[in-house]
């Protein structure tokens, strides 16, 4: 007898061997070698996971119990494979073109990437597969038990549940090691597939060996075996037609819908053409597997003692005959069947769980976006590993709960019915564009609930989950709702009953709800992509496309990255691969590198779509298109930012235009100024030249005339000098080089000096308030005098009144002295206020005398002063605001907007301080030259313009405090104010002055 320990040892050895195979295959695949890994043979063998322990052990049991009915389980898949052109081909094409990772992914993608649907399918799959996994555990456990029974020295056999637990844990470890080694973009697992293919060979070989042994070893040949079969009760089993049809359909549906079958058939598929081989090879495999089932069952029933578990005949027959080696081989066959199924199922389910349940939740809670980063991959792997463990656990729990007493076939069928619920949504989605998400959800829900109610829950046995009464009388005594006799269909087989009602109502709800709901846009797109997949996708070429693809890739890359860079990248890769020339093989690694490179230029989604187009692995999916649309949206956002920038540029342009206009104006002013200067210089020059000519000729001139002409020459020369002084003065002030030298004195003194200098002829009737002028000022008297001179001279020159009058008023105000110069002229038009203090500006259009420097000097004599046009009511203005005064003389014509409050039509006179940048703070004292004011006013030249000016310098605080600290006398306020009321023409006012 085989020692149990030996069995365990062989078992471990076998697992280690599988491990090595899987590891080697993975490594070969990673290195790009191993085309054999992707051969159609391997693909076909991997499909054989359909034949699980249920087949290996259960088929014999099935046959022993139900005769040839077991064949239905294999006829269904055979029909599906033979008819691959109509169904499987489409599934595989869709799976590849949409980069589908699981059946849940397929269904959710088809119905507009619905995550709800994906979660639902995942849950149904996990629950539906639970019995199936339990079945595998049960079969392995049973086989151990069988050996233990046959082994006399089995004291130490720990019992079923421990075996089951150990097997479950072992399978979990194996699956985790190979199923989640990495996160392949295409979810392919070369190592696992290879191990499965090997196991397929082992289990076929084992079953055939047992069969051969039974037929030739035990029965003594084919004829005798056939005779035994004839004699056996198996041949007399009457199989009802409905059960035949029902089970065949069920197994066909399950073959398509089982997550593990979907995994190997669609996800792990390397090439659509592999289906051609599988179409006949897989049915052959299944046929071979079922070939000896009946003989084994018949011989087992005949030779083994009554009551033996027929599910174990493949083990017990060799054991009974003492064929230990064969028994162990048979055991390994069964073990292979069980493990391969569990591994693939766990991988498939864990992918679904992690992709559709864990990752969305994780991303939501971490606030992550859908961008795949290294971190996310890590989480996904961890999620899969945990999922594998948690998927195997319910299987184990089910095994414990159901007591392990069920026949294997019965358990398998429960699982099949559960998986078959995906069929309407899956197939409907592939052929009918009108199918909607709501329809799929409705159908799946109804099917799932009915499956639970009619088959899954009752399978635990009466009273286990569903109470006995409910099973017999229906919920609340409603007879037609009895779980196993819905709508009064009492006489039916429970499985067929469940299949009938669940699929019927499932499909019905799917169709009806789909008809009454409208697909969303994404569903529409996806529906078209799925249903018309053959129009949308090119035939996926194999990876051996080679250099032709590389050339296409290079052409594309050159367009995007630029010629030199792309060629360098390709040549580098070619060198790396050890190839001569500049075109590398399009290995996955290289494609990834290239995709990353392109993504830098065109965005990840676009790059992926482009490479996919060329490599032909997949067509552009809606997801890709959406991603491209997102990128386009980003580009549009960028361009709208550009637009904003354009607006900014427009603004800048506007400012430039304004600046330009100002420059043009200034240029005009400059021309006018030059013209004016020319006039100013040439006029005295004309007199000088003419009279000096006359004097030179000395042609009978009397002494008086000679003296007169000489004095004219002198006057004109002085006039020229003064003009030059004015010019120089302005330029000095403009450059900000003026430094004031502070002196002390009264305002009256300064005004006296100024009036003498500016209006020597006495043309103006000047009125003053000497009392108010006794305020003591501390300032640069020369500069201040120049300001006053300019203002007074201006009034003298331009006041257009009959009897020109100038009032000079001064008034101490808020620590300042405000001095107003007010004449009785017609005033300055409002629109000219802005340029009153501009250098060279002259107001009025006809003729003007003087270069326009006077007012400029007035404004500029006090560095830091500036003049602005804004108008405000003088006294109500805050201390630092600009102030205005109103000319006394009404002026006809349009009024300025500042007029109001009874001020009427007085033209405002504006002037103001520019802020605290007072020059005195520099402390650098150096006298500045002020022009000697002309002693002769020239009334004849008075322009009909008035030039009001009113300056209101504000003395900076710094100065005030400094003065307080250093000056002794009664300095209280830094500003003095003076004003005057005045003369015919300009209403000139100046306010200013730091003072006591």
């Amino acid at each position: 007898m085989v020692a149990l320990n030996l069995l365990v040892f062989v078992c471990l050895l076998y697992v280690a061997f599988l491990f090595a195979i899987a590891f080697g295959a993975d490594r070969a695949a990673r290195r790009g070698r191993g085309a054999w890994l992707r051969s159609p043979i391997v693909y076909t063998l991997s499909l054989s996971i359909y034949c699980t322990a249920w087949t290996f052990y259960g088929a014999v049991g099935f046959a022993a119990r139900s005769g040839l009915e077991y064949l239905t389980i294999y006829i269904g898949p055979t029909l599906v494979m033979i008819g691959w052109w109509w169904t499987l081909r489409k599934m595989v094409r869709v799976g590849r073109s949409q980069r589908i990772t699981s059946i849940a992914d397929l269904i959710s993608s088809r119905y507009g990437k619905s995550n709800v649907l994906a979660v639902f399918v995942t849950l149904v799959a996990v629950i539906g597969l639970t019995p199936y996994i339990a079945l595998q555990l049960q079969s392995v456990t049973l086989s151990f038990a069988t050996f233990a029974d046959a082994d006399p020295s089995t004291d130490g056999y720990p019992g079923q549940q421990y075996t089951a637990f150990a097997v479950a844990a072992g399978l979990a470890v194996f699956t985790i090691l190979f199923g989640t080694r990495n996160l392949d973009a295409n979810e392919r697992h070369h190592g696992v597939v290879m191990a499965i293919a090997l196991e397929a060979v082992v289990k076929l070989f084992a079953l055939l060996a047992v069969g051969v042994f039974v037929v030739w070893g035990l029965s003594g040949g084919i004829e005798q075996t056939l005779a035994r079969i004839d004699a056996s009760p198996i041949s007399r089993w009457e199989v009802s037609g409905s059960r035949w049809v029902g089970l065949t359909l069920l197994s066909a549906a399950a073959f398509i819908c089982l997550p593990r079958m979907f995994q190997v058939m669609v996800v792990e598929n390397e090439n659509e053409d592999h289906l051609r081989l599988a179409a006949w090879a897989f049915p052959t495999y299944v046929m071979l597997m079922s070939l000896f089932v009946v003989p084994i069952a018949v011989v087992g029933l005949e030779m083994l003692p009554a009551g033996s578990n027929p599910d174990q005949f493949v083990l017990t027959l060799p054991l009974a005959d003492g064929q230990q080696g064969l028994a162990i081989l048979s055991f390994l066959g069964g073990f292979s069947s069980a493990t391969s199924m569990v591994i693939v199922a766990a991988i498939a389910l864990s992918t679904m769980v992690s992709n559709h349940i864990v990752m969305p939740i994780w991303l939501r809670f971490t606030g992550g976006s859908a961008m795949i980063s290294g971190d996310v991959r890590h989480v996904a792997l961890l999620a899969r590993r945990l999922a594998i463990a948690f998927i195997l656990f319910p299987g184990y729990a089910y095994f414990r709960l159901s007591g392990g007493g069920e026949a294997l076939a019965a358990i398998g069928l429960i699982s099949f019915v559960g998986a078959a619920q995906f069929l309407p949504a899956l197939m409907g989605g592939l052929v009918w564009r009108g199918a909607t998400r709501a329809g799929a959800l409705a159908g799946l829900s109804i099917g799932f609930v009915l499956w639970l109610y009619c088959l899954f829950l009752p399978s635990f046995g009466p009273g286990a989950v569903l109470p006995q009464e409910l099973l017999e009388q229906g919920p609340l005594g409603i007879g037609w709702l009895r779980p196993q006799a819905l709508f009064g269909t009492e006489a039916m087989d429970p499985v067929i009953h469940a299949v009938l009602w669940s699929l019927l109502l499932n499909a019905g709800a799917f169709v009806v709800v789909s008809l009454f709901t409208l697909p969303e846009p994404l569903e529409r797109l996806q529906g078209a992509q799925f249903v018309d997949v053959f129009q949308h996708s090119a035939t996926p070429g194999s990876w051996s496309g080679g250099l032709a693809q590389s050339e296409d890739l290079l052409i594309m890359a050159q367009r995007i990255m630029g010629g030199t860079e792309a060629q360098a990248l390709f040549a580098e890769e070619a060198r790396h691969q050890g190839l001569a020339g500049y075109l590398p093989e399009p290995t996955p690694d290289f494609l990834q590198t290239l995709e990353r490179g392109l993504a830098g230029s065109v965005g990840a989604a676009t790059a992926h779509a482009m490479i996919s187009q060329i490599v032909g692995r997949a067509t552009v999916s809606v997801e890709d298109l959406m991603a491209v649309a997102d990128e386009a949206a980003q580009i549009m956002e960028y361009s709208s930012r550009l637009e904003a920038k354009t607006e900014e540029q427009a603004r800048t342009a506007r400012q430039l235009r304004e600046a330009n206009e100002k420059l043009t104006q200034i240029s005009l002013q400059k021309d006018a100024f030059l013209s004016q200067i020319s006039h100013e210089l040439r006029t005295p020059m004309t007199s000088i030249r003419a009279f000096s000519d006359i004097l030179r000729e000395n042609d009978g001139l009397d002494e008086a005339a000679r003296s007169k002409y000489a004095s004219i020459i002198l006057d004109e020369a002085i006039r020229l000098t003064r003009l030059l002084d004015d010019l120089l003065d302005v330029s000095v002030l403009e450059n900000g080089q003026v430094v004031l030298s502070a002196q002390s004195g009264t305002l009256a003194d300064v005004l006296d000096r100024s009036i003498v200098a500016a209006d020597g002829s006495g043309r103006l009737d000047i009125r003053r308030d000497r009392e108010a002028e006794q305020v003591v000022l501390h300032t640069d008297f020369d500069r201040l005098a120049q300001v006053f001179i300019n203002l007074i001279a201006n009034a003298a020159k331009y006041c257009d009144a009959e009897t020109p009058r100038l009032s000079i008023r001064s008034q101490a105000e808020d620590g300042r002295v405000v001095i107003d110069f007010i004449d009785n002229g017609s005033g300055i038009p409002t629109d000219q206020h802005a340029v009153i203090f501009e250098k060279f500006s002259r107001i009025g259009q006809t003729r003007v005398d003087g270069a326009g420097l006077g007012r400029r000097s007035a404004a500029r004599s006090w560095p830091g002063w500036a003049v602005r046009s804004p108008i405000c009511q003088d006294r109500t203005a805050p201390p630092f605001a600009w102030c205005c005064r109103w000319a006394r003389t009404p002026r006809p014509g349009p009024r300025n907007e500042g007029a109001g409050k009874g001020v009427g039509n007085h033209a405002p006179l504006v002037c103001g301080p520019a802020g605290p940048g007072f020059i005195l703070s520099r402390r650098k004292v150096c006298p500045i030259s002020t022009s000697a004011p002309s002693s002769t006013a020239r009334p004849g030249r008075d322009a009909p313009i008035s030039t009001p000016a009113r300056c209101r310098p504000r003395v900076p605080c710094g100065w005030r405090s400094r003065d307080r600290a250093t000056a002794s006398s009664g300095w209280r306020s830094p500003c003095a104010r003076s004003s005057s009321d005045a003369s015919p023409t300009p209403n000139s006012r100046t306010r200013s002055m730091p003072t006591t």
Binding site: S678, P684, T686, R689, A690, F691, E697, G940, P944
Partner: protein, 122 residues
């Protein structure tokens, strides 16, 4: 010669200088020193020659010249324009307004005499 000249100029010293030179040369010199009623003065005096300054109080010399040329009775009167602005565009404006001659200040006495003789001449 007894030819009459009307000098329209506002600068006193220049009036004095030109008046002296022309009188000495035998011209009958009358003066007028504002722009407002200059045309009126020409109309009443009917001089053989008008010497017209461009920059006058109240009215530009160019405007006055235009009025003279527009007046049928006065149109033939030769007009010598004086300006203190030496720019080309002023010269051009004067030519277009119909100035018979254009002189830029300052000028020599001889130039002035030559010009007036030229204009009234023979």
């Amino acid at each position: 010669m007894g030819k009459s000249v009307l000098l329209i100029e506002d600068e006193r010293n220049i009036i004095e200088a030109i008046g002296f030179i022309l009188s000495r040369d035998g011209w009958e010199v009358t003066t007028h020193s504002n722009g407002r009623d200059a045309v009126e003065a020409v109309r009443t005096r009917r001089p053989d020659l008008v010497i017209l300054d461009v920059m006058l109080p109240d009215r530009s010399g160019f405007d006055i010249l235009k009025d003279i040329r527009a007046d049928a009775e006065l149109a033939a009167t030769p007009v010598l324009m004086l300006t203190a602005r030496g720019q080309e565009k002023d010269r051009e404006m004067a030519r277009r307004a119909g100035a018979s001659r254009y002189m830029t200040k300052p000028f020599s006495n001889a130039e002035m005499l030559a010009a007036v003789h030229d204009l009234v001449g023979s």
